[in-house]
Structure formats: C-alpha cells, structure tokens
C-alpha cells in the first residue's frame, strides 16, 4: 500500500468527503447560485435586468463572487460597546450549527457513504436544525443596539412559531413510513409514492414552516429593513455580516435538503448502484437539484409578497399552520394504518 493509496483512502473516507464536498464546496456553490437566482428572478418579475456588469456574458453570474471578495476585504468594525466574545463567536457558531444537520442526512442508501450511519437520522437532523437560532439571538443581544435587540427578540418569537410546525410536519413523514431512518423513508417512496403528493398538507405546512424559519418572504420579520434596519445584524460589517447572511442561506439549504428527502423522494427515481459515481455522486446530485428547486421557489416568493406583521405571523403559525400540521400528522397516521407504504 503506497502513500498515495493511503492518502486516497483518507480523502475518500466518507465523513471527510462529506465535510469537504457537502460542508464546504457544495453549499458555497449552491448559495452563490441561489443568491444569483434570487436577484435575477426578482429582477425579472420587477421588469429589471438585475446584476449584469461584472460578467455580462453569463448574465452577471460572477456578481456574487465579486460581492464576496468585496465583503472579505471590508473592514470588520467591532463597536466598543459590544460584548466582544459573544459578538464575534455568535455568527461563527451559528454558521457551523446551521450546516451541521447534514451529518444526519444519508445522500445514498449505501451505508459505506454515510457520514454517520444511524437509525433515527430524521429526528437527529430535526434536533440539530433547531440549534442555530439561539446564536442569532445571542448576536443581537451582544450587539448592544436597540434594533439588534428588537431583531433578536423577533427571532425568539419566531422560533416558538415555526419549530413545532416543522417538527410535527416533517415527523409525520416518519410516521407514515413507520421509521425515522431517512433511508427507509426514501425507500418507501419508490414508485412515485412521494410523501409530498400523498400527504400534501404536511408538505405544505413544512414548506411554510421553513419560510418562517429562514425568514423568507412573507415572513422576513427578524431582519426587516424598514423597522429594525438589519435586525440582529445591524452592528455587523464586512465578512462578519457576510457570515451572518451566509448562515441564513445555509439554514435554508439544509431545510430544503430535509424537505426533499422527506417529501420529494430523495435520490429517487435514481437507484444507487455500486461505486463512487453510481453509489454516491449521482444520488447526491439528485437530492441537491431537488433542494435547489425548492430554494428557488422560496426565492421566487420574495418577488410576490411583502412581509407579515410579527403578531400576524405568529397568529398564522399557531392558529392555522399548527392545526394543519396536526391534521397532516393525522393523515400520515391514517396512511400508515391503511398500509399504503
């Protein structure tokens, strides 16, 4: 066994692969694409052209890279009055935590490519996605700015609204199938028995829940510009602000991945085979494409909706979405009883 082979062994060790590909490269590409798409789709609906000047030949595709470079070279201003440790660490921790749930998602049904094989992967993923909002509140609190605190408090209110909806409606996928293992859930959906089609209520509530969770329109309340400037991120500048924003998009990506495995059949209709390409690469690409399409829909809504008021969003979440999610859960139970899966 030569040194090269050992190196290859290390690199191709699934957890490391997951870290590099899914943890760093794929999110970067997807987030860049989604940001570009968001700006372009808004521009199309609004009869504008959108970003164009950086690379006119590919419709301004490199604009985001230019923005990224600009962010990286901007001065990071840390005001005197902030709580320094919390101010600096909160966005970083939030960034890490928002991408962490991916460890629970198997992108294929071949166990050798799992990051961490486990039987309750859906529940683990759901548990992990709820961690990062805390640090957003911490960031707002540490900023020592009125707008930041108001933004942080709004986020805190929003957590109470969306967490339960997402958990109940995504968990209903597991209930229908009779297993909380994502591999089982995906397998159960073979033959176009997609949960998104069989249980549209749960899918819809989960969709709205994700909108609430990632402050997508019409629930862009925690950082609504015209009331609280930038919410918890008011005092952040340069790369720190970029990290904050990136964390929000990563969160949205992770949620979209969860939705696409739980409701849209994961790597189906492709059946993973042996080897790296067939066993890992193609299934994960299928999942990412589904997740990206979901994210594109989220982005599109920005062009259509304004934002709800905080109390109205909470109203909607508790009075309409939560009962609907419960109904979706019941529907899943009924489907499990009837033995559809």
């Amino acid at each position: 066994m030569g040194a090269l082979e050992i190196l290859w062994k290390i690199i191709s060790w699934p957890p490391l692969w997951q870290l590099i590909v899914l943890g760093l490269i794929v999110p970067l590409l997807v987030v860049i694409y989604i940001l570009w798409f968001e700006r372009k789709t808004a521009a199309r609906v609004q009869r504008r052209i959108g970003p164009l000047h950086v690379s006119p030949k590919i419709a301004g595709g490199l604009q985001l890279l230019a923005d990224l470079i600009r962010y990286s070279f901007q001065e990071i201003i840390i005001p005197k009055t902030v709580d320094k440790a919390a101010f600096i660490s909160a966005p970083l921790i939030a960034l890490i935590l928002s991408i962490l749930p991916v460890v629970g998602v198997p992108f294929t049904d071949k166990p050798e490519w799992f990051p961490i094989p486990m039987d309750y992967s859906l529940l683990v993923v759901l548990a992990l996605v709820t961690l990062s909002p805390i640090f957003l509140i911490v960031a707002g609190w540490a900023s020592n700015n009125k707008f930041s605190i108001i933004g942080g408090m709004r986020e805190a209110f929003m957590i109470t609204a969306y967490e339960l909806i997402i958990i109940v409606s995504v968990a209903s996928a597991g209930v229908a199938v009779g297993s909380y293992n994502i591999v089982d859930i995906v397998h159960a959906q073979t033959g176009w028995k997609l949960l998104g089609l069989l249980n549209p209520i749960a899918f819809f509530t989960a969709f709205v829940g994700v909108l609430l969770a990632t402050s997508g329109f019409p629930f862009e309340i925690p950082e609504s510009e015209h009331e609280v400037v930038a919410g918890a991120f008011t005092e952040y500048s340069g790369l720190m602000y970029g990290i904050n924003m990136g964390a929000a998009y990563l969160k949205r990506m992770v949620y979209s991945i969860v939705l696409s495995v739980a409701f849209l059949g994961g790597w189906l209709p492709y059946t993973p085979g042996e080897g790296f390409v067939s066993g890992y690469l193609i299934p994960s690409i299928v999942i990412m494409v589904k997740a990206t399409i979901l994210m594109m829909i989220f982005s599109f809504l920005r062009a259509v909706y304004g934002r709800y008021r905080l109390d109205q969003a909470l109203d909607l979440a508790w009075k309409i979405m939560f009962p609907l999610a419960a109904i979706g859960f019941g529907l899943s139970l009924a489907e499990a009883y009837l033995g559809i899966f």
Binding site: Q46, R47, H226, E227, V304, G306, L310
Partner: protein, 413 residues
Amino acid sequence: MSGFVRGSVGYNDLGLPGMWTRRIGKDVYEVFIGPQHPGSGHTRIIIWVDGDIIVDSEIDMGYVHRTMEKLSEGRQWIKAIPLFERMAIHDACNVTLPYVRAVEKLLDVEPPERASYLRVLLCEINRIAAFLYGFGIFGVFLGHSTMYMWPFGDREVWVELAEWLTGARLTHTYPVFGGVRRDVPAGFTDALRKAIRYMRRRLEDYRKIFVDNPVIRSRLEGVGVIPKKIAVELGITGPNLRASGVEYDVRMNHPYEVYDRLDFEIPVFEEGDAYARVLQRVEEIKQSLRILEQVADWLDKHEKTPIMAEKFWKTAPPLYKKVFQEQGRVKLPATFAIMKVPAGKAYERGETARGEISYYVESNGANKPYRVRIHSPSARNAIVFKYILPGHRVMDLPAIYGSIDYFPPEADR
C-alpha cells in the same frame, strides 16, 4: 386602570385615539427611527415602545428645511416658482400652480382657456406620477420589492410625457404668470391616450400583486385608523382625509382652472384605515386618467390659440409670435424679471397629490414678495404621527408612514 394613561396625550381634552398603555417608565424603550434609518426618509420619528406597542411618539422634522418662505422674500416674483417647485419635484406643477394663481389674482390676470387646460394636463400627469412614487415607497416599506419597482417603472411613462411637454423630467417650471410656457407637441395626445390605456391595465396588475395581496391586506386593514371626526380635528388633508370619509377636495370645493368643467368623481372612503388610503389613491389615479382623457379630447378639438394672457402677449414682438407658431414655445416677456405686483393679499390653494397646498401671498407693491406663507400637505399630515401612532405595534409604523404618503422635503419646505 390606575397606572395607565390613554395614548400619548395628557393635555388634550378632545379624546384623541390611542389604546390604553402603561405610563412611560423605565421599562419603556425609546427608539429613534431616522433620520438615517432605512424606513424614515429625511425625518425622525421618536417612539417609546412598551414591548411591541408604541406608547408615545413624536415627529422631529426639518432635516431638509430650506427656509423657502424667507428665500422667496429676497427674490423677484417669478424666481420663486423654481424655488417652490423643489418642495416636491415629482409634483412640481401642482405645487407651484397655487402660487402662480395667487400672483395672478394680485395682477388681475386670467390665463387663456387653453393654458388652463394645459395646466390641468400637467397637474394630472404630475399627480399620477406622485401617486406612483408614493406607492413605490409604500411597497418597499412593507417589504414588497416588486411594488417598489413597478410603480417606479411606470412612473417613467408619465415623467416621459411631462418631459415631452415641458422639456424637463421633474422640475418643469411650467405654469408662469398669465399662462404656461409650452404648447403640446405634435403627437402628444396620441401618446397620452396610449399611456392612459396602459396605466389602466397596469392598475389591474397592481391590484393583483399588491392591493388584493392577502399579506398586504393583513398588514393594512384596521391599522392607523383615523376616524372622520379626528381627521377633521387634526386638519389632515388630501387622500388621507378623503379616505376618512370627508368630502373635501379643492378641485371640488374651490374649483380652479377648468376643473369645474371636467367630469370626474371625488372618491371618498369611509374606513379611514391604511388600506382605505391605498384604495383611495388607486381610485384617484383612475379619476386622473379620466380627466386626462377629457383634456386630450379638448386639445384635439381646439385650435392652437395663444397660451399666454392677453396682457403680456399683446405687446409681444413678431419674433415671439413666430417662435410660438413654430416651436410652441412661449417667450417670456422681459418685464417678468423686474415685474412689480400691486399691493394686496391673496390666498390660493390647490390640490396636490398629497393633499391641499395653500399659499398666502402678500405684496407691498415691490418687485419681490413681502411675505409668502406656504403650508404644504405633508406638513399638515405630519401631526398624524404624533396622535395616531400610539397604541400601534412597532411594525405598523412603516405601514402608517407609507399610507400617509409623507414626503419630508415638502413638509420641511
């Protein structure tokens, strides 16, 4: 209820609105919205919030104050027109017309009929453009970025028309004493009709994406209610007043130019909330389009007659008349620069897009005004922020601010 006070007002015995809130204490947060805040414009609103409820509020205006009243005292009569225009440049004709009319009153000059129609033409074009501007700002306040871009894009149609008519996009300086400065160019009325038809179609699009959008309706319905009695008491004006159920429009109650010869409606809404104010503006755009149609018909039917008052045009040299015939451009009489206005006082008002603007003009017979007092609609509406905001949530602030269509440069003068 001990320990609770009603709204912000302790001294007013009129029972103005506001819900029961706690007395301002140490658990009340003071938030400064503006003047650098993305949602405030060039003004500052200071609010005291208790949790999410605004307990008290105060408006601190004057960040773009230019002492126009004082400046106008130092310059000749005609030079004040471009100055006053800068209060609300996208509503330039409406804002300056009452001043011009007030001076015409003192001069005993009546504009010819055609000039009156042309003034109405530009006034209504300006009005639509200003409403669309207001819609754009309102849309983005509610986070609706499409409603920001669409009206601003469609406003371009009207700005383009105004530019074709007057030669400038915004600061037209169109009405002058005794008439207007330019006649309609060839092909203008056709373009105007196209623009009218286009706008009617676009209003339907606006309705779909913004006005009837459930999210927007939730944000606006029942928010910032100004009942009729209080609207009158606070003396607010314009679409905000009519949305509260008061039948008052200067074009109806004190008709000027040819408004009493045109067939249009003054829409009046009863609800008085932010949503009614939005619908009010939509209806007013429709009525403006109706007026424009009639003006276009009139202009098509009638010959090109002089658009300057006989008093000034009679003595015009042949060159002036030739320029008017060839280019449709009125050469200003040289007397305008040094003109003296007979002593006297005149009060004139006009309906701008944001409400009623009034000019008190006093002359002592010199070539400069003795005193010009302007009271602009936004200045009159500013009092709303002091009395209506308390009792609402913080997130209602942009909704109310946008629905009032407050425009700081106009309020500050």
